[in-house]
Amino acid sequence: MRHTLAVLVENRPGVLVHVSGLIARRAFNIESISAGHTEEPDMTRITIVVDGDERNIEQVVTQLSKLIDVIKIIDLTEEASIERELALIKVKATPETRSDIVDIVEIFRAKIVDINRETMVIELTGEERKIDALCQVLQDHGIVELVRTGKIALSRNPGAAKNKE
């Protein structure tokens, strides 16, 4: 089963390498990883999606906890939480197909962020499945290039992960 982990770490150079390296050398499979700083300037939040059974996930969490720079790890899988990814999709767009694509973009509540004679760039934020769905539809027009971020997630709980027991 896939688990979404929020890993709070000290904002130090190399910390992302430590975290990802540990997961890799312990032979756990990372589905996605994304990092950025937080409401506290000296704290970075890494969201990791890992696939594995309960024992595997327990090991990922306990092994990661051993890193001195890891402050806290929260498993968001069981919690009600908001999950988002961002995608930028460059799709072929001729004058004939453009309005078709605009329709699709509107249905998905995506955004057109760039346009030229041959292509358009579409931006979409949403859950993984929604982005997958848009990509599938756009494939009919020909996707030239595609970039997606890893998942980020935030609990709907009123408290902050850093204060969780």
Binding site: V9, L22, R25, T62, I68, I71
Partner: protein, 566 residues
């Protein structure tokens, strides 16, 4: 107080109570060596940085204190790697200070530059690259704290040359602020009570003692449990010495080269209580058939050890001094006479196994059997030396035939299995324990891997007695080839055969002795023990001997090979 970065390092080492440092100078650490010139710290110059790392490791294993090693940037630092990985696998507290090229030329592939924090990340508990000279006191304070608390381990501090020469306002911090590092010493009482309840229900409990019992100084508490409740116990290689080998409850070492009784007890017990162990594959054999009838209890300070290899039903996270003390208190009210009667029956059963299946070998009057050498060393040192070993057959024979009765008396590379560990580690041990008899048991293969350190031993006139179990081969490799590779002895014998270990020792200025027949063995050992300085004894042993019993890799513990027919 104003001082240079290098002086700040020396000052901090003194504040941490460091007495001996092992190391090797070079361009990147010259400012630090300049500062050491004026300090009272004792520095031991080894002949290779790997030797310095193992020496610091040996010092730490023998004392429980932090071992300190210094090396220069680039090749100096990379030469420490095997030593750091060895310490990491066996949870040895160490602080490694490496020089780095100047801040402005980091990342330019400068002369003698290597990314040491990058290289050591997977084999250290933590590491630092010091970029700001004023961080030095804090980082040294943190490094020593991290190395010796919780589950001990090595910490690397990489210091650029210009950080050593910068001037700072020195103030050694009292307080340590590490948000992400709070080892749990006192765990949950509930976990203890559950273990006590499980013990109460168990008819065939078995204690499994590991290296954690020794490093957490909890041997007296295990001793009390064994004395009070007469529960049989087995030991990992790293746990040897925690409880007296001759204790009637002690079945000896478990696993690949463990005793028949210890392995049978694992197969038959109904509650296996692991204390500071990590269920290494050399212990468990085939995981699916490990302790098949038992529920497993795991005591450890490192939560990541629980369920890493073996699935456990009960866990107790915390310092063993806290958890074993709590267990004793909890057991006091729970264990009744009926339970004790069951345990007595069980103890009788395993003791019978132990008596019926002792460790044996066929001695000879013509050729020296390596096991005989170990028995004789044990007899003449009255099982009371601190024994350092290298890695291979001699290491397992030492585990089997030397009687370890005190903690910290077997110093050996367990987890990583590092050949070349023994000689330099013995230096650290003898430095730490000048009054003790230090005995190094090594093989011809292992000795050659770091034989340059004989020079260090001679320079300091360390009275180490070195027993070379010389079978002219890489014995353990040869044994595996014999058993599992149809006797195709691919590159496992030293065909030159001409290395003369007596003359090797003498070339460095040590005393060399030789035994070629069984009757010379006791005399040569007696003579070596009489001589004051370092003595190397070349025991020309029979090269056909195998370490037995043996559980083949990946087999279950009841599939023991007890004899080999070619």
């Amino acid at each position: 107080m104003k001082m240079t970065g290098a002086q700040a390092v020396v000052n901090s080492l003194q504040k941490e109570g460091v007495e001996v440092i092992f190391g090797y100078p070079g361009g990147g650490v010259l400012p630090l060596y300049d500062a050491l010139y004026d300090s009272p710290l004792r520095h031991v110059l080894t002949r290779h940085e790997q030797g310095a790392a193992h020496a610091a490791d040996g010092y730490a294993r023998a004392t429980g204190k932090v071992g300190v090693v210094i090396a220069t940037s680039g090749p100096g630092a990379t030469n420490l790697i095997t030593g750091i990985a060895t310490a990491n696998m066996d949870s040895v507290p160490m602080v490694c200070i490496t020089g780095q090229v100047g801040l402005s030329i980091i990342g330019k592939d400068s002369f003698q530059e290597a990314d040491i924090t990058g290289i050591t990340t997977p084999i250290t508990k933590h590491n630092y690259l010091v970029k700001n000279p004023k961080d030095l006191p804090r980082i040294l304070r943190e490094a020593f704290h991290i190395a010796q608390t919780g589950r001990p381990g090595p910490v690397v501090i990489d210091i650029p040359k210009d950080v050593f020469t910068a001037t700072i306002d020195y103030d050694y911090p009292e307080e340590i602020v590490l948000r992400g590092y709070k080892p749990l010493y006192e765990g949950k009482k509930k976990e203890i009570d559950e273990v006590a309840k499980a013990l109460q229900k168990a008819k065939k409990p078995l204690l499994f003692v590991g290296g954690g019992v020794i490093s957490s100084e909890a041997t007296d508490l295990v001793r009390t449990i064994v004395d009070q409740y007469k529960i049989p116990l087995i030991s990992s290689f790293m746990g040897l010495g925690a409880i007296e080998a001759k204790d009637p409850c002690n079945l000896g070492m478990v696993g690949m080269h463990g005793t028949v009784a210890a392995n049978m007890a694992v197969m038959d017990c109904d509650l296996l209580v692991g204390l500071g162990v990590r269920f290494d594959d050399r212990v468990t054999g085939l995981l699916a058939k490990f302790a098949p009838k038992a529920q497993i209890v795991h005591f450890d300070i490192d939560p990541a050890e629980v369920n890493k290899n073996v699935s456990t039903q009960y866990r107790v996270i915390g310092h063993l001094r806290w958890s074993l003390q709590s267990l004793l208190e909890s057991l006091e009210h729970k264990i009744d006479t009926k339970v004790q009667a069951d345990w007595t029956l069980w103890l009788q059963q395993v003791q019978k196994w132990h008596q019926e299946n002792p460790l044996t070998f066929k001695n000879s009057e013509k050729v020296i059997k390596p096991q005989y050498v170990l028995q004789e060393l044990d007899r003449q040192t009255k099982s009371n030396a601190i024994v350092v070993t290298d890695v291979g057959q001699h290491q397992m024979w030492t585990a089997q035939y030397y009687g370890f009765h005190r903690p910290r008396t077997l110093i050996s590379s367990g987890g990583l299995g590092t050949m070349g560990f023994g000689l330099p580690a013995a230096i650290g041990v003898q430095m730490a324990c000048p009054q003790e008899n230090v005995l190094l048991v090594t093989g011809d293969g292992s000795l050659l891997m770091n034989c340059q350190e004989i020079a260090t031993i001679v320079e300091h006139q360390l009275p180490i007695k070195v027993a070379i179990v010389n079978n002219h081969a890489l014995g353990m490799v040869r044994q595996w080839q014999r058993m599992f590779f149809q006797q195709r002895y691919s590159h496992s014998t030293f065909h030159n055969g001409g290395t003369d270990y007596v003359r090797l020792a003498e070339a460095f200025g040590a005393k060399g002795l030789r035994a070629t027949t069984p009757e010379e063995v006791p005399q040569v050992i007696a003579k070596a023990l009489e001589i004051e300085g370092p003595v190397f004894i070349d025991f020309q042993v029979c090269s056909e001997e195998n370490v037995l019993p043996m559980v083949p890799a990946g087999a279950s513990l009841d599939q023991m090979i007890e004899g080999v027919v070619d």
